[in-house]
């Protein structure tokens, strides 16, 4: 039996820096958004400063934790707490997406049909004469008087145009990246670091390709389809769901890139000692699962 004393991390100044940074970030974000359209607003600099302090704090904080780990200061118990913590963090992210998926299901199954005169609350249609319930909603209930209507949606274009359809390529790219990150994990478990770096590098490149394709898709939507945030509930749900997912892809890709540089530059991982990478890969698989749901419920169905 091994005997081990409890380990409590030393006090640290990073948390209060992080809290201050968050304060600057949200003050800056709120003021900037409220000042949109005003020319003499300097609010954005608060936002920038918050971002800078936050990024720096996170860098220093993670560096400290990594150094403590390499020095063998932390206990097995604390490492296990990190594992649990990451799992619950991902659960909280799942619930964040659940709010947006819930909104999507609600508008598709209830509010849009009701506005179009179908179902138990179809009485609502008397306010929106002539509105017919379809999904995607191309013409809004007010027939576009307060919105700029789209010409075309992002939905499944039929088998004929399938190969020209970006979301299909995005799906292929992201699903492959989940496989490659798994190969990287397997390689690391076999202590084959060269192969680990290779597969992790491929994953990061696939992440970049995904973000690039999504940027192309957004450009397409804004420039050619007339589909914007301002084109009614279809545009709202489309951009919020895919946008938050895209943001999470960037976060996950960034995490993986950090892990790649830690491995290439500092050789931080070995077959038993790589939770940093594992946490990032869990996050990556989570992002992938969200995409599969998006592909089904936003694009296909």
């Amino acid at each position: 039996m091994s005997y081990q004393k409890y380990y409590v991390p030393e006090q640290s100044r990073y948390p209060i820096f992080a809290a201050t940074a968050l304060f600057l970030l949200v003050m800056g974000a709120s003021a900037t958004i409220n000042d949109l359209g005003k020319e003499d607003s300097n609010s954005i600099y608060i936002l920038y400063s918050g971002f800078a302090v936050f990024a720096l704090t996170l860098y220093l904080w993670f560096r400290t934790v990594i150094r403590e780990h390499i020095a063998g200061l932390d206990s097995a118990q604390l490492q296990k707490s990190f594992v649990f913590g990451m799992a619950w963090f991902i659960f909280s992210e799942v619930m964040f997406f659940a709010a947006f998926f819930g909104a999507l299901f609600y508008v598709r199954n209830f509010s849009v049909p009701w506005l179009g005169g179908e179902g138990e609350k179809g009485l609502a249609n008397m306010l929106w004469d002539g509105f017919e319930s379809t999904w995607p909603v191309i013409s809004t209930p007010d027939a576009g008087s307060a919105f700029v209507l789209a010409d075309k949606s992002m939905s499944w274009p039929g088998w004929g145009d399938a190969l020209k359809w970006l979301p299909l390529w995005n799906t292929i790219v992201l699903l492959s990246s989940s496989v490659t990150v798994h190969f990287a994990h397997l390689a690391l478990k076999n202590d084959n670091k060269k192969s680990f770096n290779k597969w992790l590098g491929v994953t990061v490149i696939l992440a970049l390709i995904f973000v690039g394709l999504q940027a192309a898709e957004y450009y397409e939507a804004y420039a050619h389809y007339g589909l914007t945030l301002n084109s009614g509930i279809y545009g709202s749900t489309f951009f919020m769901l895919t946008g938050f997912h895209g943001f999470h892809v960037m976060m996950g890709g960034f995490m993986l890139a950090v892990m790649l540089s830690r491995s290439v530059l500092y050789d931080h991982f070995d077959s038993h000692n790589h939770f940093g990478f594992e946490a990032a890969s869990w996050y990556w698989h989570f992002v992938d699962v969200v995409w599969v749901m998006l592909f089904l419920f936003v694009y296909i169905l």
């Binding site: 968050l22 947006f100 909104a103």
Partner: protein, 528 residues
């Protein structure tokens, strides 16, 4: 289970607290952070309470006397937000910080630095929220439930600041809850199986799970508001195909578990105190655990009972009515167990016990009025009246807040090493008890008689009971100054407390000296 086990002697290198202000700024100690949470919560309780006093002063008589209606709405909104997110929730997190590691035999919380971050976000978040009072257009004025379109199309510009402050409050809650869950799952002393855990720990495990599940949903709701207000989306706008009712669905999907977040830890506290002062083992431990778990699970499928009058399909009205009434079953189990624990016990009535008994009785009254509200056709009559105000204040003030006060009296000898002044404690209890009932009981009647909630002025027939209600509120408010005095007096000095403090106390926290050492356990304690 953790890999650590009983180890050698007391050769610890742990130091006491650091000196000066940085102790509090940089601390990773669960007791320091617990104290910070509790003091922060008390400050918010006083600020939110002062706003309640403004509300009751205006309602003292019909007609507009003291404040403008616009300002009244801001007070009403901030009172709700501050009491929910600033007073009750941080108080429970503070209690969790102080007690959970001691109760499970851990050295500290599982992730101590993140623990510090969770706390220090809060002062910033509430600074932002309160600063909105001084912004152009005033503070948020749409009620603590911030229904769209009041909170979108018709909101003051400060709503953006409100949205982002809710975001970081949510981040704080999520981090705090992850910490609690991980502490409970990973830091229990060897031998403490789940079904041996003290009930306060169980109640917090379930609460933390609820928090991690629903705070992100709240973040989603305010994000959609932000997009609707500033970036042209139409989530809550029927003209674009959205629905204002969608906001209510998302909000209450968060909001209903949220109200259990504010009561489950109270269940845990009441179980400990009633057990101790009845000098009997708690009746029905495992049924208490299952009852809390059932309440938590049911809380996810009852949200629309807040929305019976918005025009739900009949099937939804029926489903949410029955599901809501089902919650009475596990809640009844809990009340039954508390009463049965007291049955034939050798009861003494120290201040914590007084608060705990009042909690059981008055919370049950709040529960019964909740059942009345759960009946859909009856709710059509009660909806948005003072009856609702009376209902949720009965579960929150003599429910949650009495339990927090009971917890403070019960554990403060362990925290400070000093006994509180029993005579003053009892005085505080009777003043609060009288104040709370005089304030809120008449609100049932004026509500049933038809007085709407959230109004600064009202019809003449409600005048008498409103005046009585206001007098009760002033009494309750003033008696909290006495509470502050008692706590300060106990912190400064008083009769020295023994390790066990209470004759009938059970649990690991009573095995260490009072005040509890800065680092409670450096090696895992032995569990029987």
């Amino acid at each position: 289970m953790s890999a650590v086990i009983e180890s050698h002697g007391h050769d610890d290198h742990h130091h006491g607290p650091a000196k000066g202000l940085t102790r509090w700024l940089y601390t990773t100690n669960h007791k320091d952070i617990g104290s910070l949470y509790l003091w922060f919560s008390f400050a918010m309780f006083l600020i939110g309470g002062a706003m309640a006093m403004v509300i009751r002063a205006e309602l003292f008589q019909p007609g507009m006397q003291i404040v403008e209606p616009e300002f009244y709405n801001q007070m009403l909104t901030l009172h709700g937000l501050i009491m929910v997110f600033g007073a009750v929730m941080p108080a429970f997190v503070g209690l969790a910080n102080w007690l959970v590691p001691m109760m499970v035999g851990a050295p500290d919380m599982a992730l101590p630095r993140m623990n510090n971050l969770s706390f220090w976000i809060l002062p910033f978040a509430f600074f932002i929220l309160l600063s909105s009072l001084f912004m152009e257009g005033g503070a948020p004025n749409f009620g603590w439930t911030f229904y769209a379109p009041l909170s979108t199309t018709y909101a003051p510009p400060s709503v953006t600041f409100f949205i982002f402050s809710v975001h970081i409050m949510g981040a704080s809650s999520i981090m705090g809850s992850i910490n609690v869950v991980v502490t409970i799952m990973n830091m229990r002393a060897p031998g403490m199986s789940l079904m041996k855990m003290p009930l306060f720990v169980w109640s917090w495990l379930i609460t933390a799970y609820l928090l991690i599940a629903v705070m992100p949903v709240l973040a989603g709701a305010v994000t959609m508001m932000l997009m609707d207000i500033h970036f042209g989306t139409s989530f809550f706008n029927a003209a674009g195909g959205g629905d204002p009712v969608l906001f209510q669905h998302i909000f209450w999907f968060f909001g209903h578990p949220e109200v259990y977040i504010m009561i489950l830890p109270a269940f845990g506290i009441a179980s400990h105190i009633i057990e101790t002062f009845s000098r009997k083992q708690l009746f029905g431990y495992s049924s208490m655990v299952w009852a809390m778990a059932s309440i938590a699970i049911l809380s996810f499928v009852v949200w629309a009972h807040h929305m019976f009058t918005v025009g739900l399909p009949l099937a939804a009205e029926l489903f949410f009515m029955w599901a809501t009434m089902l919650i009475a079953v596990p809640t009844g189990v809990k009340v039954f167990n508390w009463v049965t624990t007291m049955f034939k016990g050798s009861i003494t009535y120290e201040t914590p016990m007084l608060f705990a008994i009042a909690f059981v009785v008055l919370f049950t009254i709040g529960g019964f009025s909740g059942l009345m509200l759960a009946i859909t056709p009856a709710d059509f009559q009660y909806h948005d009246t003072y009856f609702v105000v009376a209902h949720f204040h009965y579960v929150l003030v003599p429910g949650s807040i009495f339990s927090i006060m009971a917890a403070v009296y019960y554990w403060i000898p362990k925290w400070t090493g000093n006994m509180y002044d029993e005579r003053l404690g009892k005085l505080h209890f009777w003043l609060s008890f009288t104040g709370v009932n005089v304030t809120f009981f008449p609100q049932h009647w004026i509500g049933l008689a038809g007085m709407p909630r959230r109004v600064p002025d009202y019809a003449l027939q409600f005048a008498d009971w409103n005046m009585i209600s206001s007098v009760g509120a002033f009494l309750f408010g003033a008696s909290q100054i006495l509470f502050l005095f008692i706590v300060l007096k106990t912190v400064m000095g008083g009769k020295k407390a023994t390790s066990k403090v209470w004759e009938g106390a059970r649990g690991l926290e009573w095995t260490v000296e009072s005040p509890a050492p800065y680092h409670t356990f450096s090696t895992p304690p032995k569990i029987n």
